[in-house]
Point group: C2
Chain length 122, copies 2
């Protein structure tokens, strides 16, 4: 099954804010052409546009990995509702993963950042 | 110089939300007794309480590592203002680091998470 992986950030009217996500996701998007960044609101491209395009390009499934640290109202309610609606409108299966902050890789990354912070001072 | 490292999350009235940060930061806090989790608002302990305690415990400096993926208004304006005020009230030096989302360790963690996501499907 042809599957698209969408890295979903919240979005902001502040261009510097969204640029951070472009930078953060660049290695992943360059490494895998099925991976793409999208935004829930305020920034482009929108989640809807990306799901629509994926369907048009023949992807049968869209898996959404939230670039959020924890699950709040957006991930518990808003995004599931959006995905349900887009799945029916564009005829693709959708799946919402847990936010990256719940993955052990994040705790490991945090240890590395703190280690560098402390070393810089020594 | 005795330095406290505060891992600063936004905070939420949703207990599940703040629990994710307790879990995310546990390895770091257990590994280094100078590392502690605090919240900007809505959750406990507050940033102010942690700075106050650090000063009382003899720390001369408080370094804040934001558990945010990007810099928005909170990190550009609110938190610097809070730290300036607490530094003067409690007599400690303060430093605000870049948010974790700007660190290369986060892009690496993201690659690892995506790799696992793709492998799980194969």
């Amino acid at each position: 099954m042809k599957e698209k992986i969408i890295l979903l950030a919240h979005g902001s009217s502040d261009l510097n804010w969204s640029d951070t996500f472009v930078h953060l996701t660049r290695p992943a998007c360059e490494q895998n052409k099925n991976v793409q960044l999208a935004f829930m609101e305020l920034s482009s491209p929108s989640l809807e546009l990306c799901v629509k395009r994926a369907a048009k390009e023949g992807y049968q499934k869209v898996t959404v990995l939230p670039l959020f640290l924890a699950k709040g109202k957006h991930l518990k309610k808003d995004v599931p509702g959006m995905l349900e609606s887009y799945a029916s409108t564009y005829g693709v299966a959708t799946q919402l993963l847990d936010p990256i902050g719940e993955h052990p890789a994040l705790a490991d990354a945090l240890l590395r950042i703190i280690e560098e912070t402390v070393q810089d001072k020594e």
